[in-house]
Symmetry: C2
Subunit: 314 residues, 2 copies
């Protein structure tokens, strides 16, 4: 490729697979042609579109809030997850995710109980404002970049490439939907109505200003594993033809792409670049096995990307 | 107005309120200017965008399915709602909705239990196919029109008018989301991803074709009353500035429009035209009271519309 298409991608089989697939589904009269409205692409966010190590960015936001709570109420400091937050115990926190990927949700439940307390009673607008300030103002602990600039340049370029070819891109993340929404338009050109993710339960409270939607202290959707295709259908009403993920929790979404009558491209991001990003497969073992047996396209950060991070959007 | 704008609307205060509001929020530099992405409009469907009498169109679809079930299994014929379906007892069925609007959900639960059985195990694609065939092939029992042509011409024209002024239209219906989706693009120019509504719970079942999303025999969301603003936020991540409804179940959605910092237009369709459509206020009493006290725009079918029904889309 010499036309500047996907310039942050090296000239490898991963890029060739993307270009070939897009050409195939956009060739009118061709056997695999897919009309524009049906060109739906869904992407996981953490570890697929942006960096999730040493811990998911959202966790930093939750920690900040839990620390504020522990500062205000010292009795919380002996109790998880407030204890880990107040002591900046990143090991405990990182293990929560790794254990989850291995099927042990004990600590996920402890963390989620804390999260539910952390934002209970907050309005969706207040939460969006706090998330926006955190994401635009905070800095990644090891990369030294604004959180806002932790998106992968090749994936951002891929989203634009797909959009230019009539695709509609969605995020389908295990992370909190409303945490991402304030910045997805600027970072990925994906507006809030195309962000699917986890959420706490919401309540509508009447007031003199047209009512307020607020978070309740109870979970609603955990958008991971088999829940991903379900939420994708619920929100879009169409089956995607392209899906991108990076972990075991993305397997059902990747499998769901295409279906009986349509072609599909499944991208699995492999974190194998300790120099420029991180090197880990914890939580991704089954997805890598499935990719190997089913011929999914594995995207190696080390080999397939000549650039990893983009500058923050203006 | 002599420019053909909203030509199916009479030159009354309702039409003037719409035109004035749209002008106000689209006037750059004006005090009430709203940027395009924030121009979100949400509409109830049954009784607001299309006819809901003598019974909601969806109920006809459910009846058809329940009748098939009762034909196949005679023991069901002595049991509601199969009995009403098999005997074409429209009175029992119509009362279900009226009772619901008055706060009595006994029969709604009976009907919903039947509905859950009716579609349990069906794939979302199979259901969409059946709904599509019913809506395009069936005829309204008293109007003699295709169901597909039971949309109100002035509301369809309003949707197009809003779209032409940079609005994004959504349906937020108490009716079943997936029942409407196959035809909303053709009838209202609203694609499936912008249809919000009630739904049974879904399951993801693995298979050799990328998995199938199917309906479970349990309810998930009943998108009515205070649930409407919650689902609107969940799906869109924005607060609408325009909302249209016709019943008590739409009050929270109508109140939610605008909010603290934005202007709002709230439209309440009044069914007062027994000649051309129907004449009823059952289930709309509180919404009409609220409209009167809060200055919402009541749209009289008799006085404000010179045409009621459009031809079926080509």
């Amino acid at each position: 490729m010499t036309d500047g298409t996907l310039a942050t991608w090296n000239d490898t089989s991963a890029r060739a697979a993307i270009v070939e697939f897009v050409e195939r589904v956009t060739t009118e009269g061709g056997p695999d042609y897919v009309p524009r409205p049906e060109r739906v692409a869904t992407f996981d966010n953490d570890g697929t579109l942006w960096c999730e190590k040493p811990m998911p960015i959202e966790l930093g936001f939750i920690l900040q809030r839990l620390t504020e709570m522990a500062d205000a109420d010292p009795s919380l400091r002996e109790k998880q997850p407030w204890k880990a937050a107040a002591e900046r115990d990143y090991h405990w926190l990182s293990d929560v995710i790794t254990k989850h990927y291995h099927g042990d949700d004990t600590d996920v439940r402890v963390l989620m109980a804390g999260m539910l307390q952390a934002f209970a009673g907050m309005s969706v607008e207040g939460y969006a404002h706090a998330a926006d300030a955190f994401l635009r103002g905070g800095t990644h602990p090891t990369l030294g970049r604004a959180f806002h600039a932790c998106g992968y340049a090749p994936m951002i370029e891929l989203l634009a490439f797909l959009e230019a070819h009539g695709f509609t891109n969605y995020i389908a993340s295990g992370g909190d939907r409303d945490f991402m929404r304030p910045i997805t338009e600027d970072v990925y050109r994906i507006p809030p109505e195309r962000v699917i993710g986890s959420s706490n339960a919401l309540r509508y409270l009447e007031d003199e200003h047209g009512g307020t939607v607020t978070y309740a202290a109870e979970p609603d959707v955990f958008d991971d594993g088999p829940v991903k295709p379900i939420r994708i259908w619920s929100r879009i009403g169409r089956r995607p033809i392209l899906a991108g993920g990076n972990s075991n929790g993305d397997i059902p979404m990747l499998q769901y792409a295409g279906g009986r009558d349509r072609p599909a491209l499944r991208l699995l991001v492999l974190h194998d670049d300790p120099e420029r990003e991180f090197d880990y497969t914890a939580g991704a073992e089954k997805s890598l096995e499935t990719a190997a047996t089913q011929g999914w396209t594995v995207v190696s950060i080390k080999s397939d990307w000549n650039t990893v991070f983009a500058d923050a959007p203006a």
